[in-house]
């Protein structure tokens, strides 16, 4: 008997990175999984995993996605709001189009998915939102990204309070996870290699995170093991934010 046997799951943004790791982990734990992304079905996606092309920031598309969930699974047990994007700009540099794209995916997308999926979720359902350590301490030059993740973590608490006890809702705040997004963040440093070395030394765990680290916590939160966990934003960052950023050893 696997932990998620008989459960159904929808994971947004399952093309690559953290989303893909969560998709594969939930399936390995026994869940039936649907995932989505803006483009066509990725060639390397497991054959049992359902794929829908969907822009999470588009109201009609999310409604249609929820209908597909009902057709495929009946009820939904697990919703993982992972789809998101990152724009490396300060407020002054950010255009209206940047706002629409970033807040559309990271904030409105989470809202739309929750609004359309809560009514089709089973009692005992679990929503897992992907927040960020940037929600509570700013990463330089990522103004809207940071703010969008604070929105996600605030919404997480509201859903837990308004929709418990039927539905639990938690967020995971990843630290530096080695994905394309992290590479993009290092790329804007004056010396990307030095920035990477410095960042590594700020991790008590001695390494950056892997998408599988986040998937391991998502699987636990999705399972009935986490029945008493709701309304929380759990940080998974290899200890980075437990330490002060002012580290004399790195001067």
């Amino acid at each position: 008997m696997k932990r998620l046997d008989g459960k159904s799951a929808l994971v947004t943004g399952g093309r690559r990175g953290i989303g893909r790791a969560i998709v594969e982990r939930l399936e390995a734990e026994g869940a039936r999984v649907m995932t989505c992304g803006r483009g066509a079905r990725p060639d390397d996606l497991g054959e049992k995993i359902l794929w829908e092309t969907c822009d999470v920031s588009a109201r009609g598309a999310v409604g249609a996605l929820a209908e597909r969930v009902v057709e495929a699974f009946g009820e939904l047990d697990i919703l993982v709001n992972n789809a998101g994007l990152q724009i490396e700009k300060t407020v002054v540099e950010t255009s209206d189009a940047d706002w629409d794209a970033l807040m559309g995916a990271n904030a409105k997308g989470v809202f739309l998915l929750c609004r359309d999926c809560i009514p089709i979720m089973s009692a005992g359902g679990s929503i897992i939102n992907i927040g960020s350590i940037s929600a509570t301490a700013a990463d330089p030059g990522m103004a809207l990204y940071n703010a969008s993740k604070a929105f996600v973590q605030g919404l997480t608490r509201s859903i837990a309070v308004d929709h418990g006890p039927a539905i639990r809702c938690n967020a995971i705040a990843p630290g530096w996870i080695m994905t394309g997004m992290a590479d993009a963040a290092f790329a804007v440093a004056r010396d990307p290699a030095a920035a990477r070395r410095d960042a590594l030394r700020r991790h008590p765990a001695g390494r950056f995170g892997a998408p599988g680290d986040i998937a391991a916590l998502a699987a636990w939160l999705a399972s009935d093991e986490a029945a008493f966990a709701t309304g929380q934003c759990y940080t998974l960052d290899g200890g980075m934010t437990a330490a002060s950023p002012l580290n004399p050893g790195l001067f």
Partner: protein
């Protein structure tokens, strides 16, 4: 047995208490060899759990216990500091003796156990320390002043240890339970009224409409102890049925 902790060694202080014994039982079920350390044995001990007489406030006894443990085990993979007490008083009602006692158990006990366990933890291929904080380390319950202060100290110690010992392959986290059905919670309800109606009122204020059971906390401790949580360190893991996600609820 799902075997998440197969082959691991675990030492649990307060191992006879409400939450501590649930943790020991769970660890044994997951395949760990477990030592439950406490002042007296639990009424029922699960198979695979050995009891050791242990007083977290006694430096000499703590040192000796880990010396002896080192002869039996090559390394320690999991340390859980679950020993703790609660004093239901404001600071004005709290005597210095009571203040020193709760700090001796909740804070100094965690310090001493960690200090003497470190040599064995370093020999593990990947050690996990789980301290007991509390949601009371973030938000106060009335009439629990010294208790709240001890849990704040455990939270800060947890981060400091994660920072110092992470590079040695030791992860350090704290679990911060809310209301859990233990003798401690029963004592907190005390004589404030009819216990059944209090229980219902406590349930109603939780988004999950229930207080926790020791097994709910053991579920999280088990995850943090396992290699599943290999990237989790330096964090304070609140598990409270959503209680602290909401603001105070006015009765209007």
């Amino acid at each position: 047995m799902s075997g998440m902790l197969a082959g691991k060694t675990a030492f649990v202080t307060g191992g006879s208490g409400g939450i501590g014994s649930a943790i020991c039982t769970r660890f044994a079920r997951e395949g760990a060899r477990v030592v439950a350390a406490d002042l007296s044995p639990a009424a029922e001990t699960a198979q695979g759990v050995d009891f050791v007489d242990y007083d977290v406030t006694d430096e000499q006894a703590c040192r000796q216990t880990f010396d002896t443990l080192g002869e039996r085990w090559n390394s320690l993979d999991i340390l859980v500091n679950a020993a703790g007490i609660e004093i239901e008083k404001t600071i004005e009602q709290t005597s210095l003796e009571e203040w020193n006692r709760i700090f001796a158990i909740n804070v100094t006990g965690t310090f001493l156990t960690c200090k003497f366990a470190l040599p064995l933890l370093r020999r593990s291929a990947g050690a996990s320390v789980v301290n007991f904080g509390s949601y009371d380390g973030f938000i106060a319950d009335p009439g629990l002043a010294a208790y709240c202060a001890t849990k704040g100290a455990v939270h800060a110690l947890t981060r400091a240890m994660a920072c110092d010992h992470g590079p040695e392959g030791i992860r350090v986290n704290a679990v911060c339970p809310g209301y859990v059905n233990t003798p401690m919670l029963q004592s907190f309800f005390g004589d404030s009224g009819d216990i059944e109606s209090l229980k219902q009122a406590v349930r109603d204020v939780h988004p999950v409409r229930s207080y926790g059971e020791p097994e709910d906390i053991a579920n999280l401790v088990n995850w943090l102890a396992s290699d599943e949580a290999r990237y989790a360190s330096g964090q304070l893991w609140i598990i409270d049925g959503g209680l602290s996600a909401q603001v105070q609820q006015m009765r209007l």
